[in-house]
Symmetry: C2
Subunit: 544 residues, 2 copies
């Protein structure tokens, strides 16, 4: 239902590959041995492609001569800035500080690679489309071949194959790579309500997501503490509900900027507008939206979840989500639905009467379902699909078949049971429970993230296919611009590989050997990705 | 024995103070109440001075008119750049982005404060001295008075009293403050061996330490993984033992820079050269320094702790610490002595023979003591005092009476017992056990750091007086330039107040109300100090 252009940027590129990188950690002798990153036969590729063959034949790259170009048979429109921007971005990544400016030298060495040809194999190369959930693989071959998809992912893989030899020369080895993601939905959730995240922080994070082949930015944009989204229809929501109406809001231009920055990196932006709970900040700018709580027979002056018994609530939601559906081009909206606290509803006599009238008895989950049901009907008219947190499914709300159920609760046994239940009911699902990266602990916790697998539950093959992926969540209670990047990276990289690479890619040792140089590569690209353990990078972070 | 000039910069300043700052967190209504920072009657002062009286009388400050000047009766030499630099630094902090350049306006308002007079009350104002352990209080008074010490601390307190009103005008209230630190030794340990810390990271941290009135930088400069200290006497130590001999070392100029940057902020630099364990990196550049381990009857090729049975070891240490004692001007050196693993010593037949010859039997702690005893004798000849980790005391090594025993092991009960033991033996001590800030966990762990008290153990008043303070430690296994600042601040601020303020300053609520704006102040000054909880700052971190 939404354009699928980026995903149709089929292509193949002249390829090559990666000599074994040098160890990035110094070995220890004697007492207190420390883990040492050894060279992996897969170099520093992260996440690991589906099939990798790296030969010993290496080619040199010179920044004077090397060019990334549209292949001769490519369907790409030369004016497609999406492509040209990506070429420039990856040229920068590949050559970094060592690149020289100036014309071609005119002389090339005997084993020099001068061209990376990008071959878009589909005529459907609309440059202005948005990435979507569906992906499409291809098998076209050019030169020393391999397959990548989509473009950004291919360029990322190529750039990861390039290594620096002891003389500082960039090299790439002849290689054969066949690649595609295991899961279509590979997301990061950021929370811009508990702390406001300046736009630049979000953009930086999108850049790093692309380096890790994440393709969904789940933007938990509003919640109880603040409402930074500036609505054109209801401007008072952010005027009253944001931490500050000018300095702590996302303007329509900001939102556009985020969406476009994501789009040209193959990343979808799925906004979450969580109701009926988690809406305290909504109530500041929208009178009568929230339920008045009672203390005995009188209103206490505080408010609870969205008031589900008023027609005005649904009129508001209709207008609000109509706007949201045009602001965010993605085919999906996340509607939340988690953690609804019933105590305020219980205290309110009007709600109680409504419950009786509708025969809900004292079962407030029926009232919750009543609200959600109405909301889903509203959103369905906007032609969007929806994602919801697992409670909505658990409470038995009627859902359209294409609803995505987002599992986030419980321990391993519980979430695996939930995944089984959801898929046996025929719904698509994605997993976040083991990937709440805001929860920190001392040590190498990336290994636990790495071990979790969204398809590990009792279920049929059909059920397993309903798992579309997962999301690493960085809730904002303790996170803002000061610490977001080092807290998220490279811990989220562990999730990235789980969601991209083959199911049997589970060797922690090889993961360590590739993740260590991958984290140094992020550092070199300017990302303050924290260290995995005792180690050093050839080029340390200098953004201080 | 070392110059004590900065500590002799006695002074008093014209003073004033702080209207109640506005709450920095938005309150919540209804469900999910969140903690809200309320105004404290002590404003945003952190750490809390010993006596504070803030009146309602406020004065305005204008960046055109306001000046920090030497008081008329001050002994300060006008050419003392130490002072002039501090004036400029705090002028910048006070006015931040709002400051205007240009001459005095010539017009001042009726309730405008135009001058902060800094009165150095001691004639002993050598500008080139180093801060030392001893501190000296003063009671001289000038104008609306109060006392601060030393200079930097007074300026920091003054700058914390300045607040911005709703029109962006800087204000300060008439106030009376009497202040002095509870403990003389208030330190931060950084580890530049497990990860190399670029000099700029260290300088930035010193700047933040000054904002929190820490006065000791414990530089755990070398350890097993790397030896970044460039020795003039033994250059091969860093040439072979650093992660990289050029990019990952501290040159003599770097070390000087760190010491001077610290000095002009009233911070002492105490280097730690830990032996005989934690020395793997030393062995790379110094043949025969470490003990060869044996596998059966043959050397295994690996090495253990420093070899304590060779004369060459002590010749090396003599020369090495002679250099160290001149490079670092502080009166103390930290000699480590922790975590000596005996297995390699046990495996070595030469060591075994030495043990037998000296009647040590199989008690390797006697061999350790033998080594440490020799080392202490060597260091004593350099006229330095020494700090050592608690094991050295625990093993019964003979120590000079002025030795500082650094307690770091065990749970609360165990470290309190250790503090009692150490002080009942008449030694001075400092505590780190509850303040291993490298250990992270989810939630507001600053509260636990805040609750710990170094004088809380069974002991006499005399014993309690032997507690000179404590240190927050940020060991480097998981810390480098990418995440050091947000991981350390404001968590270390909790330790700062414990070590500075009166023993009965233990109200977590008031601490929260002052620490929240203090953390925002650090952010505004450019420090990526992480959030304490759901909140916002008027000016968010923008260093991304």
């Amino acid at each position: 239902n939404s354009p699928q252009v980026v995903t149709a940027l089929n292509f193949a590129v002249l390829l090559l590959a990666l000599g074994l990188c040098e160890s990035l950690q110094r070995g220890y002798v004697g007492e207190e041995p420390e883990p040492v990153a050894e060279p992996s036969k897969y170099g520093s590729l992260w996440p690991l492609p589906q099939k990798v063959q790296i030969s010993d034949v290496s080619y040199k790259l010179s920044s004077s001569n090397f060019r990334i170009v549209d292949g001769k048979l490519s369907y790409a429109d030369p004016s497609c800035s999406l492509l040209q921007d990506a070429y420039r971005r990856y040229f920068d990544y590949i050559f970094g500080l060592t690149r020289k400016h100036g014309p071609k030298s005119g002389r090339t060495g005997p084993s020099e690679l001068t061209e990376l040809q990008v071959w878009i194999t589909s005529p459907d190369t609309e440059c202005d489309g948005y990435p979507s959930l569906n992906i499409q693989l291809l098998d076209l071959i050019y030169y020393i071949v391999f397959i990548l998809f989509p473009l950004f992912l291919g360029l990322e893989t190529f750039s990861q194959l390039v290594y620096e030899d002891e003389y500082g020369v960039k090299n790439v080895n002849s290689s054969e790579i066949n690649d595609f993601p295991r899961f279509a939905h590979r997301g990061i959730l950021l929370d811009s309500s508990r702390h406001f995240l300046p736009v630049q922080v979000i953009l930086d994070n999108l850049e790093t997501m692309a380096m890790n082949k994440f393709n969904v930015f789940h933007w938990h944009i509003v919640d109880d503490p603040s409402f930074p989204f500036m609505s054109k229809t209801f401007p008072q929501l952010s005027q009253k509900g944001a931490y500050h109406p000018y300095t702590h809001v996302y303007t329509p231009a900001d939102v556009k900027k985020v969406i476009e920055f994501a789009r040209v990196r193959g990343i979808r932006v799925i906004p979450e507008f969580d109701t009926p709970g988690h809406t305290q900040s909504w109530g500041k700018g929208q009178t009568d939206l929230l339920t008045p709580c009672y203390s005995g027979s009188k209103p206490s002056g505080t408010f609870g979840p969205v008031n589900p018994i008023l027609n005005s609530t649904y009129d508001f939601m209709k207008q609000f989500f109509k706007e949201i559906s045009t602001v965010f081009p993605d085919a999906y909206i996340h509607l939340g639905g988690d953690e609804v606290n019933f105590s305020c509803w219980k205290s309110n006599p009007d709600i109680q009467k409504f419950m009786t009238d509708h025969g809900f008895g004292q079962d407030f989950s029926k009232l919750e379902s009543f609200y959600i049901q109405n909301l889903l009907d509203i959103v369905t008219t906007t032609n969007k699909g929806y994602m919801i947190w697992q409670e909505v499914f658990d409470n038995g709300v009627k859902l359209t078949p294409d609803t995505l159920i987002h599992v986030w609760k419980g321990n391993q046994q519980q979430y695996q049971k939930e995944m089984a239940n959801v898929t046996s009911s025929g719904y698509q699902t994605l997993l976040s429970t083991p990937w709440y990266l805001n929860r920190i602990s001392y040590g190498q916790d990336w290994q636990e993230f790495y071990k979790a697998d969204p398809q590990e539950f009792n279920g049929t093959e059909t059920q397993k296919k309903l798992v579309i992926g997962g999301e690493a969540c960085l809730w904002g209670e303790y996170v803002d611009a000061t610490n977001l990047s080092p807290r998220l990276w490279p811990r989220a990289s562990a999730v990235a590989e789980r969601l991209w690479s083959a199911m049997d890619v589970t060797d922690l040792g090889d993961a360590w050997n590739r993740l260590s140089p991958h984290r140094c590569r992020m550092v070199e690209r300017g990302v303050p990705a924290e260290p995995l353990f005792v180690s050093y990078c050839p080029r340390e972070y200098n953004g201080v």
